[in-house]
């Protein structure tokens, strides 16, 4: 008797639950106002995924062109802002448009296979799909312009870029030895919040730039809404 009652009770409980949940799903599932469900067990990432930005250093995704900062910025001493001209004006550092590459590479090493690939993009009018290495979460408002104007050196966040992308040459029998770059761009810093805060608290540029109001600026640099959207 008791067993029957309890079984019936449970069955009733579950069927009510099921119908409620189905009704709830119907209410939620409106294609006009789509919702994104939360993953219950986010165990495995997409195949092209990386660990969420900021956790690990040494991240170096494969890039479409084996570009070498070692050669450009290091050996040839091209200033950072020659190519990354947006950094002084914009929140973005600005990956240069292909026309900037072509300024030189219309004439320089045009026979290189990699340069020919760049030229191909240029001629087709397609952007080069660079993979993002220094990626901050969407809720962070980072402005290159403020840091550059404050006098923060690029290397303080981006690391020793001039030493990155050291090339090796393989003689494949062609006219030019083929350049190979092990890691085009490596994230050397964590880009984590605590890392940002440490610099905001101690960087000497604040005292130089703000003089008497440096203390206020230090407080402002610790204010959440300075960096969070």
């Amino acid at each position: 008797m008791l067993r029957t009652v309890s079984l019936l009770l449970t069955a009733a409980l579950f069927s009510t639950g099921l119908s409620c949940v189905v009704a709830e799903e119907q209410l939620i599932d409106d294609a006009r106002f789509p919702l994104e469900p939360h993953l219950i067990l986010p165990v495995w990432g997409p195949s092209n995924g990386q660990v969420a930005a900021g956790v690990a250093t040494g991240v170096a995704p494969e890039q479409p062109i084996p570009f070498s900062h070692y050669l450009h910025a290091g050996k040839n001493e091209i200033q950072c802002e020659y190519c990354h001209s947006a950094a002084r004006k914009s929140i973005h550092g600005g990956v240069p448009e292909i026309s900037v590459c072509m300024n030189c590479h219309k004439f320089v090493r045009t026979k290189s296979k990699h340069i020919q690939k760049v030229t191909e993009y240029w001629q087709k009018g397609e952007p080069i799909p660079w993979q993002k290495v220094h990626d901050l979460p969407d809720y962070v408002n980072f402005a290159h312009v403020r840091h550059i104007r404050a006098g923060v050196d690029c290397t303080e966040c981006h690391g020793q870029i001039k030493l990155q992308g050291k090339p090796t040459y393989t003689d494949d029998g062609g006219e030019l030895p083929l350049l190979a770059v092990d890691k085009v761009m490596v994230r050397e810093t964590t880009l984590q919040m605590g890392w940002c805060l440490d610099c905001h608290a101690t960087h000497p540029s604040v005292d130089e730039n703000y003089g008497e109001s440096a203390e206020t600026r230090r407080a402002e640099l610790k204010d959440c809404w300075t960096c969070h959207k």
């Binding site: 919702l35 939360h38 993953l39 690990a56 973005h92 993002k132 979460p137 730039n209 600026r217």
Partner: protein, 1082 residues
Amino acid sequence: MNRRNFLQALGLGTGASALSACGLDYNRYYTPIEQILPYVVKPENVTPGVPTFFATSITTGPHAHPVLARHRDGRVVHVGSNKHAPLVRACVPKAALLELQRHYSPDRYKGPMEGTAALGWNDGAVPKLTAAVQAAKSAGKQVVWLGQYRSGSMVELLKSVVDKVVMWEPNGYEAEATAAQMVFGTRFLPRYDLAGASYVLSFGANVLGGWGGTRLQSDFAIARNPNGDHVIARYAHVSPYRDQSAANADDWFAVTPGSEVLVARAVAKLVAQKTGFSGPAVAALGNIDTATAASAAGIDAAAIEAIAAQFASGNAVALPGGAIGAGRAATELAAATYLLNIVGGAMPTLFSGGGYRAPIANTKDIMDLVAAMNAGNVGVLLVDEANPVHALPYSGFAEAMGKVGTTVAFSSHPDETAELCKLKMPAADTFEDWGDEEPLLGFTLLRQPAMSPLNLIHRPLGEQEQVATKWDVVSAGEVLVRVGQALGTVTAKTWRDYLRERWGRMVFDADVLAPPRDRARREAEASGAPWPPVGPDGAPVVEPPPHQDARFGAWFNKQLANGFHKNDLAERPQVLNVTGNVQWAADVAPAGSGDMTAILVPHAHVGDGRYANTPWAQELPDPMSGIVWDTWAEIHPDTAAKLGVVDRDEVEIKSANGSVKTSVEITKSVRPDTVAIQLGQGHALASMRYANGIGVNAALLAKDVDAHGAMAWSGNKVTVTKTGGRTDVVHTFGGDSDEDRNFAVVVNAEQFAAKGDAPADHPGDLTGIHHLEIDKRLTDIGLTDFYPIPQHPTYRFGMTVDTDACNGCGACSIACYAENNLPVVGREKVRQGREMSWIRIDRFYKGDETHFVPMMCQHCGHAPCESVCPVWATYHSLDGLNAMVYNRCVGTRYCSNACPFSARKFNYHTYVWPEPFNMQLNPDVVTRTMGVMEKCSFCVQRIRSIKSAYKDAATETTNFNAVVPDAALARLPACAEACPSQALTFGNLEDPSSTVTRTRKSGRNYFPLEDLNVFSAVNYLAKASFHVAKAEAHHGGGHGGGDAHGATEGGHGAEKAHDGGHGGGHDEHGKADEHGSAGDHH
């Protein structure tokens, strides 16, 4: 498992143990590697990450308005105000923002189609259209253009391509234009300048709800502001229905439907007697006596006399009936108001001829067109965003379309009419097109593309790839130019060339070339030299066309940069002469049988239906009823009692033409013998996904036009019966009364006019609010608060909300949606109380007044929400902002419970923007995910960028300590920028000269729930009313409250001036009469 996956697994372990980077991207412990896609060649003056502003104009016809489109990384993300445009105050019309969302609608036609088969432009659609036009012309059939109001070059181009131009909108200005033809002999719209008015008399036109363009709202706000000229414009509304505009009126005369014309004429007669005006206008008024008019209108004759007395006292302007006054005598009503303006002396200052002059068709013209179509006289019908199939269900338009050889839709979005067209040639919309509009005589607005036609970039995301979608649209002008080329009537190569050529001819020539040419001619005439000058060969010198002049390119670019051109016609008063006579209809009463009259009202946001498929327009609550995503029937409480219905009951409304069933909303905003229903809804078209199935089409009740061919929307008797059903209409409003909690506060208008907002001895003394007293012993030792107000080194941002200027239109709210990436949650979730609007426009009825009080986060100095957050997700920032860090929020929702203003909104779900709505998202504001609180941030992203901009004002050096001046802050947040009435003013409370600091010293300053002592950064200015008694000085209490501020806010200026003994002295006597006598020294 390959090496990569292994490393990822390793990385996950690291991530999990470091417990970091789990912010709003919580869903992705892995983030996809994003791509950086640089430009191939960077466009000039575009820097990725820096917004570019394009001066352009938005919406068409008489409503065209100059704005700045904010372009960011290839797409328009917001529409801002054009501060430099003359004749209009800097603001963003609601329609501009709705156009912005419409621009990104997923329902937009993606490209030219024949039936449902996709076509190409150059090899399909355009040749087909050209062939059809040529065939029609050779067969002697008409090529007809049916479209929304357009002016400027488009009209000229149309006239050279098509045979007949029918520019018609369902709730347009046909009665006004026809009346102008009757009275003044030309078909145009008069120009109203409300800024100088001291009495505005509307016979139904919702002047504060968009009638006549947003310019009138701004002008009225100027007229309403007594600072400077000590006059507050009084606004009287004569109409059976009180809409959002009429709710702002000081006097509402609820006349019987159709009788507005009688009242207008009776008033005009009386005014003419008072002013002694004589002339043809008086004669044109015909015979009418006050008593007859009063009895027909159902109001006292004394009321008419009072209106006339007010009107005759000068600076008065009368406005016609608009959509609500469109009864059986719609045209006569417009004519009567013109005559009233003339006899009242409004012409030519407040009422003049310098209005809109482009074609305006009557509904009768549509009916004629239908007849012509049925007769087979129309070979090609071109439809441009006009939807007579839906708006005029009895016109037989849909059937007639079948009898037209080729029907072409230029509409960019599907609607009932466009869907029936055989050929769909979706035109580039307002953000992708060139064009111009002339809303006022001599005031021309340019339109330029602010972005290249919409397309979704191919972007790999995870393992699934988004298919590239491109909206393959071409400007309607471009198509017409090509057709014109084929016909041989147009020589320009492109639509842009056509525009430039016309601007060269019409504007540049007059502006730049004509003055020296005239001078040369005068000199030639004086010296007897030949004119035009002759060359060495003796032949007259042929000047090149103006647009080929060497200076033209630079000149045109300058006009483009401005977005407008104004010549002296715009400023010169255009006097109108009464040339015709008016045949006054004998019977103005609604037709049909029934004991009620249906007032068909364009929906406050959806309008005549053009924004029905725009989620923002649907989600924004109706200003008066708070209803969203629906139509409803407004019924007077007495009538409801008679019918035995309550709110949300279903009723059937039946006219001679048809019937609709809809929900009851009981309100005192209608006369007992009328029922008001919203137009614009009731679409049943799957391709309009947001409009589909929303409400009913109230146009089913109306069929007839008046004697002059204008649609008589509100001229039908109906019977209302209870069906017994219930509806699921969704309200967003709670109580109608502010329960005397000082949300809605009035000042006596005359008192306010006399004093203005000049610093008062006792801030807030005009409002008559009794403040809680603070013991003198406490104020003496400065102990009014447990804790001092936080220190702010440079800024404490604050806002002033002028509830007298606010008319409840909702532009601020939509601007906020656009700027801050607020999701639209849809009808079902609004029912559950989940609307996300950061600005809630509270509507309160109090006394004779309807108050619209925009409530947003008050950024309190002592914010109750901050101290309760366990994780510091909300805190008081250095700039005095009540900051909310979304990605720190865990979602306890305690802050929302603590907020006395209920200003916080919670993300119940992770909302997704269906593509391409996501392209409108502001990249400076993160989209929030489920479980976090959000609220007004005073547009912190704009504050951040303007602070940065002032630091970088000099290109080479950086002034790190630059302070943003008040002028640059006043309209900084999106809401303040959008407000047509400039009711919202932003600024720095630490700056003693800023507007926000000054208004805090005004006599009508008040803070809602001030006694909670939260030290809001938002102060409110009371609404002026002609119906309240003058406030007695209320020193005792007032001082107590004031002193609290003076003592605790320290350096906030004048409030300090009356601390100490002054306030305390009065506090000692607690009696009202003593306060009264003490108040005399004001």
